[in-house]
């Protein structure tokens, strides 16, 4: 990722707490004080009701695979997935340290972090 792109992320003050938590291995979601719903990726204005009363909510780290695919043409191949969190949101992520042939919808996975292009990003591995 180019320096210009990274600068754009770090210049977003609304995401400062998110990246700081991620560097510490914690995944932050956003919960709305007005409508009560939790969303991800995080936004200052709630995408359900547009309230700006949105607060950080730390994810438990648990998750369930909602769907998955293995990009066989990747070098090396990699597993991409939608993982459903018990807090509500489903997020796009990678399943790492896994047997591709054992992946399944409904499989329990747990949160970890990997650094990609200097960004700490949430990934999941089999629980």
């Amino acid at each position: 990722m180019s320096d210009k792109k990274k600068d754009a992320f770090s210049a977003d003050v609304a995401l400062e707490a998110y990246w700081e938590a991620a560097r510490g291995g914690r995944l932050l979601l956003k919960n709305c004080g007005a409508c009560g719903k939790t969303h991800y990726y995080p936004r200052p204005l709630c995408p359900f009701c547009m309230s700006s009363d949105t607060q950080w909510l730390e994810a438990s780290g648990e998750g369930t695979i909602y769907s998955w695919s293995v990009e066989r043409r990747g070098t090396p191949p990699y597993a991409i997935a939608f993982v459903a969190l018990p807090e509500g949101p489903t997020l796009l992520t990678n399943i790492v340290d896994c047997d591709f042939d054992a992946l399944a919808i409904g499989q329990k996975v747990k949160l970890g972090f990997e650094t990609r292009d200097d960004l700490p990003v949430p990934v999941f591995r089999p629980a």
Binding site: A14, S52, W68, E71, I80, L92
Partner: protein, 411 residues
């Protein structure tokens, strides 16, 4: 430092609670498709994208029996170079009083016909030109990713995980298999049907008829999709001319009447991801309500076929069959013209013919118009084809996409 505007309460009146509400204003019968053209090239070495746009524009106007000075509205999407409509109006020498560069990915051109019909119905223009061109094989924008001047807000939360058009659509297929027992063999039948049609199209990139075994024995590219579940990558383009009824009445070509159209966007919904349906559920319902017909009335359907799973999802969302029944619907030649229950993509579609600029919406309109005119290849022409549908899914089926549905009638 600026703070976000502090909305404490944003009132919603629930005006959008029924997405299929029939508008009091309608485009039904208020616009006609008068001209079409498909660029014969599949590999445009040395030809810039702007020139391809010009060649398809000329072709469609000639087909309609109209000229450059008749055009008073221009539509294009993200495949157009430079400042889109501005750069292309300059290059083409257009003098227009209406322009629209709505971008919903590959479905844009179907949406453009809707918007052109709306503008014509409102008296804003009489002759609307819509063009598409692209050359992912020989240079230009990388596949599916028009350069964006401003990065999308989802980028740091998705791009690190290397989503591709392939693996995002593959996850929709995986989920459908899990929920409904859909099989790779059933998906393969969609490619088989396309190849049965493509054998009659001299311009098609893949003219060889394939079998279910050929598809499932081709390499897995992103589980559960195989290489032959994917569309071709091709250069080329196409154009459509949409005109007011009084213009259509003066033209010689067979007339195709716009009966109804719908468009909708589906996205990640703040993380409430549901891969079991597409925005086509809403766009198709709006189009059928406007046209006053039902899916059972459709004699031919052009269905967006970036991948086999795209076709299957749309068949359910449009209402050709019940949710979860798509696999059974397409199996055993269900989509083959002359033998199947729903003839689709009789030009070979994106799966076998072409997918110019990685955007299949334009070619979907073109083959539907050929069918309504009775000008499809005789081997695939649908008998008494009086009502046809063109449907597109642009963007990424599993994350964010724009659906467009267009219903047309032989006039």
């Amino acid at each position: 430092m600026t703070r976000a505007v502090n909305f404490q309460a944003v009132v919603s009146f629930g005006l959008n609670s029924t997405r299929t509400e029939f508008p009091t204003m309608s485009i039904k019968g208020k616009a006609y498709i008068a001209g079409i053209y498909e660029h014969p090239t599949r590999k445009a070495e040395g030809i810039p994208i702007a020139q391809l746009h010009a060649e398809v524009a000329k072709g469609a106007l000639q087909d309609a029996g109209l000229g450059l000075r008749d055009v008073d509205a221009y539509f294009c999407a993200g495949d157009a170079p430079g400042l889109g409509g501005l750069s292309m109006a300059d290059y083409l020498g257009l003098d227009v009083r209406h322009t629209d560069t709505t971008e919903t990915g590959g479905s844009s051109y179907i949406v453009h016909v809707n918007h052109a019909a709306q503008a014509i119905a409102a008296g804003k223009c009489k002759v609307a030109l819509i063009t598409l061109a692209g050359k992912p094989r020989t240079g230009g924008a990388p596949p599916g990713r028009p350069p964006m001047a401003v990065q999308p807000p989802d980028l740091p939360f998705e791009m690190p995980f290397k989503p591709t058009v392939l693996n995002i659509y593959a996850m929709v297929a995986r989920r459908h298999m899990h929920d409904h027992g859909t099989t790779a063999e059933q998906l393969a039948w969609i490619k088989v049907a396309a190849s049965q049609h493509a054998q009659h199209n001299p311009h098609a990139m893949l003219r060889e008829v394939v079998t279910v075994e050929d598809v499932i024995n081709s390499p897995v590219v992103a589980d559960p999709l195989h290489r032959l579940d994917c569309c071709v990558v091709s250069d080329g383009g196409g154009a459509v001319v949409v005109v007011a009824p009084e213009i259509a009445a003066q033209l010689q070509r067979p007339k195709v009447r716009v009966m109804g159209a719908g468009e909708a966007i589906k996205h990640m919904a703040g993380g409430q991801v549901d891969l079991s349906y597409s925005a086509g559920r809403w766009s198709a319902a709006a189009a059928f309500a406007e046209a006053g017909i039902t899916p059972g009335d459709i004699k031919y359907a052009s269905l967006y076929d970036s991948f086999t799973i795209t076709v299957l999802m749309q068949i359910e969302d449009i209402g050709f069959c019940a949710r979860g029944q798509g696999g059974r619907f397409v199996a055993d030649g269900g989509l083959i013209s002359g033998v199947g229950r729903l003839p689709f993509n009789t030009d070979g579609g994106g799966l076998c013919n072409n997918h110019p600029g990685n955007r299949g919406g334009m070619t979907k309109i073109l083959e539907a118009v050929r069918q309504l005119r009775g000008e499809a290849h005789p081997a695939v022409q649908v008998k008494n084809c009086d009502l046809a549908l063109a449907h597109g899914t642009g963007g990424y089926l599993g994350t964010r996409h724009g659906s467009g549905t267009l219903i047309m009638e032989r006039a």
